[in-house]
Symmetry: C2
């Protein structure tokens, strides 16, 4: 059995997985990320020990412990370099855990763990090469090659959200212009929806929030589309173009067997997915040679992907 810990900005979640990477049991506690580093580490250790005790497991029963980190880490040395929302900085987390539980400890970025989780227990479990694109505050990426995370020589790769798709476009927090996540994140979709609602006060979209733009979330535009709103349709059409643009780029570069879409917006279902798929069908390069095509699908594990992927780090 293996243990995976998803260190989230809100909760620490530790899960026990079986040989098929199914979650047997799961415990969680609030992260309270601004606490002293030691207190957070102690809580992670407590979750792990509680899982082991509860299931009568000793160190010998646990093949590996994996950690999904919301920031940068050195996967070779087991050190968390930096997190934005959790008080870890150059934290030798693997060593700290192993001082208490003598089991091999692995760590990786949380977006990478989610991609690996889907690759072991979810949408991409039957393929070796996949890319997971997670639509959230930003656009996260996890690249899986031969069932392993690929993140470059310095563990900083997979930043697909900062691929520029419109070099004269919107400024990004990273300092560049036109990064994919300025167009295809949930944040971007909400901004696009607000802009369209504001410009069209007679639309179903505008009326659906009673004219209060602050009520708009990532679902609003799809609800209005379902009611036949042409303004919402235009927003969704454009968002699908933005999303597909980056996905086609990744397919041209990687030709993975599958691209899997995660994050809340992926739950929009057919209205979004069918539009993206139509663009992929048209634009994915390579049809001249009747090469098999990368498949596009939606993540199936939800929040469990991070725990399962963390557990699979030791494979």
């Amino acid at each position: 059995m293996r243990i995976g810990v998803d260190i989230g900005g809100t909760n620490l979640v530790a899960g026990l997985t079986d040989a098929q990477f199914q979650i047997v049991d799961k415990l969680s506690t609030p992260t309270l990320g601004k606490r002293a580093e030691k207190e957070i580490v102690d809580d992670i250790i407590r979750l792990i020990l509680t899982l082991m005790e509860k299931h009568n497991l000793t160190e010998k029963d646990i093949e590996s412990i994996g950690l999904g980190v919301p920031g940068w880490c050195n996967t070779d040395t087991g050190i968390i370099l930096k997190c934005d929302n959790v008080n870890f900085r150059n934290t030798p987390i693997a060593k700290l855990l192993q001082a208490v539980v003598n089991v091999p400890v692995f760590l990786a970025n949380d977006a990478d763990c989610a991609a690996l989780g889907e690759a072991y227990g979810g949408a991409t479990k039957d393929v070796d090469h996949s890319i997971m694109v997670t639509i959230g505050t930003g656009v996260g990426g996890g690249i899986i090659i031969d069932k392993k995370i690929y993140n470059g020589f310095n563990h900083g790769g997979g930043e697909v959200g900062h691929m520029v798709i419109d070099m004269h476009g919107l400024p990004c927090v990273c300092g560049r212009r036109g990064c994919w996540e300025q167009y295809a994140s949930a944040t971007a979709l909400i901004a696009q929806t607000k802009g369209a609602a504001k410009a069209n006060p007679n639309s179903i979209l505008y009326k659906s929030v009673g004219g209060d733009l602050e009520k708009i979330n990532g679902k609003t535009v799809f609800d209005a589309l379902a009611q036949g709103c042409p303004v919402a349709e235009n927003v969704v059409d454009n968002f699908a173009r933005y999303l597909a643009c980056g996905i086609v780029n990744l397919i041209s570069i990687f030709q993975p067997e599958m691209v899997v879409l995660g994050g809340g917006v992926s739950k929009a279902g057919a209205p979004l997915l069918s539009r993206v798929q139509a663009i992929l069908d048209k634009e994915c390069y390579g049809d001249v040679t009747s090469l098999p095509r990368a498949k596009f699908c939606v993540a199936t594990l939800g929040n469990d992907a991070g725990v399962i992927g963390a557990a699979a780090l030791g494979v």
Copy 2:
């Protein structure tokens, strides 16, 4: 020893390499790509046999034969799927060669071979992860991970030239808009140079070709820049921005140890390279964690990269 064959649009070049991937000897013959498939295959076999006879080598002395193909191929089955300029279509080239020379035969796309050649005998020989970007008629790419070519599950990956960097930009032959090669290829540079010369008939640039825009090639703008032409400087500044935009994208995604630039334009030297490097220094994501940075350099093997990379396919 190994043999690498670079199947070019103009020439077939076969090279014999030693254990350090240095070329010991090299023979070539015109490709005449429109000939019958069998005639081209026979010429490839003849080059290989001549190299072996000349150096008194038997099949046992040759560890592998590799072929660099100017088109798509299935590296698993040894079949050339399609070439644009050479009359191969679903050609079982490995089998045809092995019927005469019983040595393991490997094949790969020529841009991939060039990248592998640099990785074994050239600019990137000391690193495991590199990406080669070749500036020519288009923008070619070769992705090397753990000293092996990465080209995806269907052997069609590495098409970095068709990464969109300006989604509302110029139409591309592939059917998309704003592909990198529409901005950063030699073809694009020449078009940009012509446009600037035409718009500025008093410029050094315009006068350097005596007002005959058809005399403009990939070197013209750098020559005018060397003479202090501000119009040329503007063209080079913009071209460097286009080139750097795609390179930063690739670094954000892959974090390779090195990005190596090949093709004729890479010979422009410092005036181009220093501009690109300045943008990489500013825009490559990851400095928040003081991660080591991907290095940017120029290819060193020239046309030999393809032969050396083909020879290295069997490693």
